[in-house]
Subunit: 316 residues, 2 copies
């Protein structure tokens, strides 16, 4: 004999509130409604749920057992409701993002950290890739948001793009590097040092070549290549090698005092860092919230960077 969970909840409400009239108020229905519900339940069960002919309705043992379950059900219903509200407000769920390794490690990861302290119920899945793979993953649906430097006129078909930071690279080195304290730099100064190159296929590698050629360096020695940001920084601090990094990455690492930039202006890449997603797939609330968060963080970051830039001196 199947029992309707709604009836069990009503039963619990009556038992807990001590009467039909009061119970009716609790569940927001009329007293006769509950009266009939109880009558039907009793008929179905073949046993009384309240003692016969007692006016302050006195629950039977059976009633108490069933009311226990009713309470469980009411509880579960509430939990479901809250889960739905959390989900819909983007405070629970999953956001899957992918991006170029250097940016992810150097900039995004700390933003994820602060996001997660604010919204611990949101789980963030992070993967790495360059533009073509990111596009693929977005299209397949494995990823909700990609973060990647893109030439605004070359946004892949079907994807929306929102720039979040102007592309700007700098020559980076360890803070302990001989050039780091030198007030004025010439090309001759940097010529002797070898270079750390990002992984061969990465856009940053192209940036490195272009940047150096833009300041007249065409022939350079690569002492280390292929690592992630952590490796690059690690190698850099233990050597006098130089590298090219997005300024935002250097900026975000400043608190670690593990990397600094040299005051030599090099060519901007023709790409902008931005978010990619498929407009046609409507984003889950958690994804929307995460995207908003990242955008806000980046606009903060841009502000900080431009302020610091006003106090710095750059040379061609």
């Amino acid at each position: 004999m199947k029992i309707d969970p709604n009836h069990l909840m009503i039963l619990a409400a009556i038992a807990d509130s001590g009467g039909l009239s009061e119970g009716a108020r609790v569940v927001g229905k009329s007293q006769p409604s509950l009266s009939r519900t109880i009558a039907m339940l009793e008929a179905r069960l073949g046993s009384r749920l309240f003692e016969k002919g007692k006016k302050p309705l006195r629950p039977t043992e059976l009633c108490r057992s069933l009311a226990d379950q009713g309470r469980v059900i009411a509880q579960a219903g509430l939990a479901a409701q809250q889960a739905a509200e959390l989900y819909n407000s983007g405070k629970a769920g999953t956001a899957r993002l992918a991006g170029t390794p250097i940016f992810m490690d150097g900039v995004i990861s700390s933003m994820i950290a602060s996001f997660q302290t604010a919204h611990p119920e949101v789980s963030v899945h992070q993967t790495y890739g360059y533009l073509s793979e990111l596009t693929e993953q977005l299209n397949v649906g494995n990823v909700d948001i990609a973060i990647c430097p893109v030439r605004p006129d070359r946004v892949p078909e079907g994807l929306s793009f929102k720039p979040i930071l102007q592309g700007r690279n700098v020559i980076a080195c360890a803070p302990s590097h001989p050039l780091a304290r030198k007030p004025a730099l010439t090309l001759a100064d940097i010529a002797p040092y070898s270079w750390i190159a990002p992984p061969a296929g990465s856009p940053l590698y192209e940036d490195l070549r272009n940047a150096l050629s833009s300041i007249g360096i065409t022939d350079f020695r690569v002492s280390f290549t292929g690592g992630s940001l952590a490796s690059i920084i690690s190698v850099m601090s233990g050597s006098e090698a130089l590298t090219v990094l997005p300024y935002s990455v250097v900026f975000m690492q400043q608190h670690t005092r593990s990397v600094t930039s040299l005051p030599i202006r090099i060519d901007h890449p023709d790409r902008e860092l931005g978010l990619l997603w498929r407009e046609d797939r409507q984003a889950r609330p958690a994804v929307k919230r995460f995207r908003r968060y990242i955008e806000d963080e980046f606009s903060d970051l841009a502000l900080q960077i431009s302020e610091k830039g006003r106090n710095a001196v750059w040379r061609a």
Copy 2:
């Protein structure tokens, strides 16, 4: 936004069975029914529960959260159903019985013990009293069944009475008593010993007087009075005192080797041990089952007693 627990159960069924059609089979409804239920839920929640346009229906994270609660609800529903079935079959609940102390302690308590091993979910409440109090308690509704010696023509108004054992008393003493081994007894033999009397108001006390006078003893010394069965037996084993006890009590105590009966036939009381209850209050299943059990146990007991009686020799 309130969510119907039925919907959550359906959701769980679909998520667990992996599809609408299969889920429909599980919950015993048609596929379009579930389809619409899901559609309404999604509309209500404002979020998809299954990924759009995927044919082996793939549950969303939200769906999974809600399905979790749905499973909880289904579980609670089942538990309620089982609770009801247990209750209705008398395998769960409460039976409140009351009775005269000597019988309760000497006979009923061990029956309760075996009943409880068979039906551990039934809780038994036991209280003590003599006929007038028992009647009162039955009428007030504090007690479901009373066990008491009653004169069949003096069953209290409004109560049903079912005899379960013929009243028969014996003279009891410790097994170590000098008279216990004596093959032939005369009144002169028992004259010297003092007596243990049941509590003054109890029916047994009257029995004692009547029984002794029936065998010609009118003047007897009472060395101990007022105790419960445990006290009586305890006092008896440490002394040479005699007492009058229902034979059923002596019979049930035989395994403890703490009491035995003397082969002297004394008058039967004009009462029969039986069950009392109010026919107009319809008994809860657990009470019915308990009553049946007690009745069966007593018919067994009567059988055993009559068998043993055939082998014993009694004298006037």
